[in-house]
């Protein structure tokens, strides 16, 4: 009897799996068809595309020849690769759809760039660097989500934490003249909001999504209030909302490598910090006692409690850390990029970070991969406006949000959240 039920369940699962596999296969085929139909057929045989491999800014890296290739054959090749992947997916199925989906999407984007820059040139290195820079806040948001959700606290408030930290860091940096203090200020404000989220959701057992939403609304209101009440005075704005920004740091030797050097090793401190957080988080989460306790608290708090882990303490520390990492991400928007705060300048990056965390299956490395995808979409839409003038920019601006939805829809059902995610712990 029980065996029969189990078999039925497996059957039902595989039907759902099959359906999903077919949908992804068709999506891959559509991408392939789009590459061929939209780009390959719309280009002439004699055209050449040039991808610039040298950064537009001064760099230590030696100049290397740009990559030039005939447009049409390459487009056909890209299209057929996508079609092949789609066929394979339909017939056999890939194990990791998310990975292949990213690949096919990448092919599509590459084809689009090759087509858009036909008979012209396009600076690939510039775009890759923009990708890394724009991924930074998203990845930090995702890391912030990972550390909170591994301890079973849904942190929807990353957006609000980033926004408040963006304002705090620029104010501290402008007032003290020290960017490092600004960074610290942003992290502290993020940590305070994390602590607030902790008090509400751990102490008062408020629904975590409502508590997070309240924090988001609170920081939107407070930051706009401060901007309108104080920064309206140009003198105040000058002294409190006008800092310098972190300058690129060229790492010796590494920044001399062509392509990779300018992309990864000639950026300002925040992407480096992002990678540092990534490594530390990965190691701490999976290889230390603290990390294992965190995971235990996220999966089965009662069992962890029985074994002597202080569930509340773990959750408090993790949510405060989560706030501090989000604060780092918020600092990027002001002292990492423009040195000035604008109302609601984070523009949903915190939420996109959450989507990246889900896409990355609650792991730091996966989150980074997903963030790079979103960052790519973000920098892509910027470059398109230069490549194809007249294309309605509004659609391109909407692209990152649309991609977030598609990714969530494709991945979330399969990704397994920490088992106790979102549930307040009640000690009997």
């Amino acid at each position: 009897m029980s065996v029969a039920t189990a078999t039925v369940q497996i059957q039902a699962l595989t039907t759902a799996e099959r359906k999903r596999r077919a949908i992804f296969g068709i999506v891959f085929l559509l991408f392939g068809a789009a590459i061929l139909g939209l780009f390959a057929l719309n280009s002439q045989s004699g055209q050449t595309t040039t991808f610039g491999l040298n950064p537009g800014f001064t760099s230590n890296a030696p100049k290397i020849p740009d990559l030039a290739f005939p447009t049409q054959p390459v487009l056909y090749a890209l299209g057929f690769i996508a079609l092949f992947l789609g066929g394979w997916q339909l017939a056999r199925g890939f194990k990791s759809y998310a990975f292949v989906f990213s690949g096919v999407f990448f092919l599509f984007v590459l084809a689009f760039l090759a087509w858009a820059a036909r008979d012209g040139s396009f600076n690939l290195v510039g775009m890759l660097q923009a990708t890394l820079i724009r991924s930074t806040p998203i990845a930090l948001g995702a890391f912030s989500g990972v550390i909170a959700e591994r301890a079973a606290i849904i942190n929807i408030a990353i957006e609000g934490m980033m926004l408040a930290a963006a304002l705090a860091s620029v104010m501290v940096a402008s007032a003290t003249g020290s960017l490092w203090l600004g960074l610290l200020g942003g992290m502290i404000v993020g940590g305070i909001l994390g602590g607030l989220h902790g008090i509400l959701s751990i102490q008062f057992k408020v629904d975590q999504i409502i508590s997070g939403t309240a924090i988001n609304i609170l920081s939107t209101g407070t930051t706009s209030f401060i901007v309108k009440r104080f920064f309206i005075d140009p003198n105040v704005n000058d002294s409190l909302n006008n800092s310098s920004i972190f300058q690129p740091i060229h790492i010796p030797l590494l920044s001399d490598i062509p392509v990779i050097g300018p992309v990864f090793f000639s950026v300002n401190i925040l992407p480096y910090l992002m990678f540092a957080v990534l490594i530390v988080q990965h190691v701490v989460l999976f290889y230390t006692r603290w990390g294992l306790r965190t995971i235990a608290v996220g999966e089965h708090p009662k069992a962890a409690d029985t074994l002597g882990v202080n569930v509340f303490k773990v959750r408090y520390i993790n949510i405060i850390m989560s706030g501090m990492i989000a604060g780092l991400g918020g600092a990027y928007f002001t002292i990492g990029r423009v040195g000035q705060f604008d109302e609601v300048m984070t523009g949903g990056r915190g939420f996109i970070g959450l989507a990246a965390m889900i896409f990355g299956k609650w792991t730091p490395l996966g989150s980074l991969g997903a963030s790079l995808l979103f960052g790519f979409a973000d920098s892509f839409q910027q470059k398109i406006q230069i490549l194809i003038p007249g294309f309605p920019s509004e659609f391109l601006l909407a692209a990152p949000y649309l991609i977030t939805m598609i990714v969530l829809a494709g991945v979330v059902g399969r990704a397994i959240a920490p088992a106790a995610d979102g549930q307040p712990y009640e000690k009997d």
Binding site: S211, T220, G422
Partner: protein
Amino acid sequence: MAQNNNGKKAKPSRRFSFGGFGVPILAVVVGLLLGGLMVAVSDPVVLRSLSPNPWRVASGDTVNPDTDIDLNMALTIHANDLTVGDYVAFKRGTGFVLREVVPTIADIVDSDTQIDLERAKRRAPTLDSGNAAIVLSFGDRPLFTFQAAGRAVFKAYRALFIGSIGDPSKISAGWAEYRATGDSQSFRDAMRPISESLVTSIPYIFAGLSVALGFRAGLFNIGAEGQIFMGATLATYVGYTFTNLPAILHLPLAILAGMVGGAIWGIIPGWLKARTGAHELINTIMMNYIAFRIVSWLLRGPMQRPGAGKPVSPVIAESAYLPQFFGAPVRLHAGLVLAVLVAVFVWWLLFKTTIGFELRTVGANPNAAKYSGMNVARNIIIAMGISGGLAGLAGANEVLGLNHFLAEAFSPGYGFDSIALALLGKSHPVGVVLAALLFGTLRSGATSMQSLAQVPIDIITMIQALVIVFIAAPEIIRWIFRLRATGEEEKTVFTRGWGS
């Protein structure tokens, strides 16, 4: 506090009980008090008195004329309170000059920066008449700082009251004039603030019902703002396209279009949730951003008013107007009647029909709903569709009743505000209507608070966040007011984690 947490064991207390609305009412009160605190600590005069140098003198001793509004706020301090060491500003021309108060005329070293106490006091009457201002430091005179804070809060909330309810003396004078002469103009002028409050409440009722219905079905529809935009867009399109229809057809058609626009924008995340488990919270937020971009594109492209340099749509035909009841400047329109009817309908739908029962069951316990044979996925889609449609009505209402065309910034965030509103109204249609009236009053009063007391309108957003916190964590309010939990609390909001 510990004993309050065990709400189930505590006996219900009648003391300080406002029925089920005790916590919401007290939450609003505490929210307003904390908002007042925010106004006080952010007041320029208060801040200046707290700073080491009470005056921020721009150059030399001439006070920046840009700040004379701040100076005037500090006027009411009594001249007799002046002592040596204070700073006094006197109006000279368009600016101010600053004088330090010294004991006697003999102590004056530099007459351009100093004044003796006697003369400063003698010129005191002018201090009260708008010619000069004093800001004293907190260290010297703590009372001054508290007075300034009190004045700032009083001024802000007075502006809020006048801006939302109206000036009582003007209202009675206007009424007397109407009775005497039959001319209602000045009465209408005096009634404008309260009418504006009601007008602002209308979209709040629709949007609040939208979010509340979502909560009842266990869905967190944070996308009301985007749904409002799409509803307004479709209603506008119908409004200016079908110009030869009679009003009896055109107006319902435009309202319906608004509903459809919002419903589509709600069904998409609903469908994604039902089919793939993607959390509606993130998807509705993303849909908001997409809606803003679409409207921004439409108003610069296909829907731009011909010949207009600005991103605005054409004006809709008069046959699609929601009729206004009174003459200008009172803008109260038929949308209010529609909103109340819709609230009654939502109440009926939720509590008196099978659809409503299923929605609430799915919201309270999807597993139970599933095992009793309900189609959870279909109910999620239906709930998001209705929720979106209600928000779409809010958008249609703004276009058809007030603006009569679509512009980019037509909604000051009704959709976002409605989250707090629905929580405040305990996701019940009656509660939502009452909360919407409150929010409409606050929002329309806050506009005048911004212009009269220089308190940014965002203070309302901050108060809302506090209200959400207090509603969601009633223990905080109970702890502050030493309330006991009133028996079993009905849980009105259910949200879910990722992908369930």
